[in-house]
């Protein structure tokens, strides 16, 4: 059987990679993609635990996470498009209108 | 017994408030309507007090027509009104003087008419409230409320230095009433209630030492109001700067609140302290009589002169109260009413001249008697009443006070009697400089005599002056029992047969 530690480890790794992606990459689209990675990591962990505890709750949660991910991606892109039309660039550095 | 469904005392106290509301709703522009409304309300109020007179039975000495409603249960403060002979007379005086004052300010006041009459009615409410309240807290509330309208009356419609005078008046009285409040609270702690009748019934349950302190607190509060000599400097300023109607009420009623306070609270509730401090107050009263008379000799402003004469007259009242004999005390109460009538009229007299010449300096006038004979007659009657000419009201009061004081100490009577001589001095000198002599300035030539309205304001006062002078029996009968009751508490030795 698959040891639970492995599953959680894998999920966590993907999560970390996603997080690094978000922090490192300046390109907005790539950041969004890293975001998706994050969520996938979480799903893996959820699925693993679901199986480990032999209850369907894990996968139900994962399902909901996916729904959230979908909506987040949609809104993300809408913003990106709007932003792109406005600023002609994806570079997050330009994005500093909110300077304090 | 009630009018329009409202118990009579409450009606008396709050009817002017109804007047205020009506006037508030009248548009500011329609001055005639406002003036009319004000006069109607004060007139009806006076009518109501006459109605109260019919309900009042002079035989019993204790409180009548008592109205009792719980007010603040937590501290057992009640909305408690009652009337006995003393407060009946003072209420009658208040409503009469307010009616006359309102009538007299028909031409006198031109600017901000609405507020003027609103304050006047508020003043009347609070004054009558003071005289009818039996619950000490309620008494204190009305006592404070009186200050507010008077402050504005002086502050807005006054003379040049009106702000100084108004503030001085307000702070002085406030200082006094704060001390009084302390006294009331101490009494409350001793008697567990604010109800005056209960406190009096309970007798002197307060230890003598504490009584001394409470008496001192009350003394401060009332002495400033009377005013007694060291605390009197607010009076001339307040009078000089107040508008005519204001000073009529200030002299006619406000000064009586102090003396009323002494008689209603200090004497019955603190008998031992009253007996112990009586000589001190008598000396202060004598000083007031002589000092007031002397200072008024030197005044150049008519109102200031009359103000200082009030200090002297009120000195007589305090003397009458603190000699602790029934005759003197009754004389003192009657003298309160007389002083209200004569000084009120004198201020109206000055007001008439002020309206015509806009000055109160005696040097500005002279020889008016030829131009204004009726005015001269009224002024003469009031001057004679003020210096206590027999046949007029002043004499009865002074005679009873002096005859009451004599058994206690002939020296006191002698000093007080000099007050009469000095009184004749400064009043006649005033009358002579204003009315006799030659017509000094051309402006005086064109002075016209009293109009019918002005005469109407004087008529009731002149009639009362003669009535009390010749037949004071009804007035004295009313105050006979209550005063005797109070004196019996304070000075029982007076009534016992010689052992």
């Amino acid at each position: 059987m698959i040891p639970i530690e492995a599953v959680v480890g894998l999920g966590l790794l993907i999560f970390t990679v996603g997080l690094a992606g978000v922090l490192v990459r300046k390109n907005l689209v790539v950041m969004l993609m890293s975001l998706e990675l994050l969520l996938n990591g979480v799903n893996i962990i959820l699925a693993g635990l679901g199986r480990h505890l032999k209850s369907p709750r894990g996968s139900i949660f994962a399902l909901f996470v996916i729904i959230i991910a979908v909506s987040e991606a949609a809104v993300g892109f809408a913003l990106v498009l709007a932003y792109f039309r406005h600023k002609k660039s994806y570079d997050t550095d330009v994005l500093s209108d909110l300077k304090g | 017994m009630n009018i329009l469904g409202v118990p009579i005392l409450t009606f008396l106290v709050f009817f002017p408030v109804a007047g205020m509301v009506v006037i508030l709703f009248l548009p500011g522009s329609r001055t005639k309507a406002i003036k009319l409304a004000a006069n109607i309300f004060t007139g009806l109020e006076f009518g109501a007090t006459l109605l109260l007179l019919t309900r009042f039975d002079a035989a019993s000495g204790d409180m009548q027509l008592v109205e009792r409603l719980p007010w603040i249960k937590a501290i057992r403060a009640q909305y408690l009104l009652g009337v006995d002979g003393i407060s009946l007379l003072l209420v009658l005086l208040t409503s009469l003087l307010t009616f006359i004052a309102t009538l007299s300010s028909w031409q006198a006041v031109q600017k901000r008419l609405k507020e003027y009459y609103v304050f006047m009615l508020l003043l009347e409410t609070s004054m009558i409230g003071v005289f009818l309240a039996l619950d000490m807290l309620l008494f204190y509330v009305f006592w404070e409320v009186v200050l507010v309208p008077m402050y504005f009356l002086i502050g807005i419609w006054g003379g040049e230095r009106r702000l100084y005078a108004a503030i001085k008046f307000f702070l002085y009285s406030l200082f006094g009433s704060v001390a009084m409040l302390v006294g009331i609270l101490v009494l409350r702690s001793q008697h567990q209630t604010f109800d005056l009748t209960a406190m009096v019934a309970a007798g002197s349950v307060i230890p003598a030492a504490l009584q001394g302190w409470v008496f001192l607190a009350f003394f401060l509060g009332f002495a400033i109001k009377v005013p007694m000599v060291p605390f009197h400097t607010w009076l001339p300023d307040a009078h000089v700067e107040a508008p005519t109607a204001g000073s009529v009420l200030l002299a006619g009623v406000l000064l009586k609140m102090g003396a009323y306070g002494f008689l209603r609270f200090s004497l019955p509730l603190l008998p031992e302290a009253a007996r112990r401090y009586a000589p001190v107050l008598v000396v202060l009263a004598l000083v007031a009589i002589v000092y007031g008379a002397l200072v008024s000799l030197m005044q150049k402003d008519m109102k200031k002169l009359i103000a200082y004469s009030s200090v002297s007259h009120m000195g007589f009242v305090i003397l009458g109260l603190f000699v602790l004999t029934p005759m003197a005390a009754k004389g003192a109460v009657l003298q309160m009413v007389n002083h209200g009538i004569s000084t009120g009229a004198l201020f109206l007299v000055v007001g008439v001249l002020y309206e015509r010449r806009h000055t109160r300096l005696i040097s500005e006038f002279g020889g008016l008697s030829s131009r204004m004979p009726v005015y001269a007659a009224v002024f003469l009657v009031m001057t004679m009443s003020s210096i206590g000419l027999p046949g007029l009201n002043g004499f009865i009061g002074e005679f009873m006070i002096l005859m009451g004081t004599f058994p206690v100490s002939w020296l006191w009577t002698a000093v007080a009697a000099t007050g009469i001589v000095l009184g004749a001095g400064y009043m006649l000198w005033l009358y002579q400089r204003v009315m006799f002599g030659k017509l000094s300035t051309p402006a005086n030539e064109s002075l016209k005599d009293l109009t019918f309205r002005e005469l109407a304001t004087f008529l009731p006062l002149v009639v009362l002056a003669f009535w009390i002078g010749i037949f004071p029996k009804p007035f004295l009968a009313v105050i006979d029992k209550p005063v005797e009751k109070i004196i019996r508490i304070v000075n029982p030795a007076h009534f016992e047969a010689p052992r």
């Binding site: 490192v24 990459r25 790539v30 679901g50 209850s55 990106v80 570079d91 | -």
Partner: protein, 168 residues
């Protein structure tokens, strides 16, 4: 034993793809690797006997989101390559932080360990999941549908090309 092997395979694939997604210069390549990662995780789901989830993953994630990315990139015809001006040290620092975070979580998990098999064996079959989904999780289920509708409208409005006569 085989499932373990399959699990390991898919796991490594997913991880590699993930790393490549964030490393790639060209966005198009990143998208492709993202698709690859998604499919790998679907495989993992299958090994964990969460078949329904895996199917959903492939359908929704793979079909939906990845395709969406592709469209967006094509529409926006993202030509210029955003120069990564940042120097290496800050980059390393930036990578170190998530790694640090990951390490901490691991130590935390290890310390607490996992609860022994749950007392209630509700079974992971698809039937039990469906029943539970539509019983105790009915509210979130409905809310999810509402959420999706809201996002649908929101995305359209935000992304729309502004016309002059538009009110806002």
């Amino acid at each position: 034993m085989i499932t373990l092997a399959v699990f390991a395979l898919f796991g490594v694939l997913a991880l590699a793809a993930a790393v490549l997604v964030i490393v790639q210069r060209n966005v198009m390549h990143s998208v492709l690797y993202l698709a690859f990662t998604v499919l790998a995780t679907a495989g993992v789901f299958f090994t964990l006997q969460a078949e329904y989830l895996g199917a959903i993953q492939i359908l929704v994630y793979g079909g939906g989101i990845v395709v969406l990315y592709i469209f967006v990139i094509i529409i926006v015809n993202l030509k210029e390559i955003v120069p990564e001006r940042r120097k290496l040290i800050p980059k390393l620092f930036l990578v170190a932080v998530p790694v640090l975070l990951g390490a901490e979580v691991v130590t935390l998990v290890l310390r607490t360990g996992f609860p022994v098999a749950a007392a209630c064996d509700e079974g992971t079959r698809f039937k039990e999941m469906a029943e539970m989904l539509l019983a105790s999780y009915m509210a979130p289920f409905e809310l999810a549908s509402v959420l999706l509708l809201a996002v649908l409208i929101g995305a359209i409005i935000v992304a729309r090309r502004k016309h002059i006569d538009d009110p806002d």
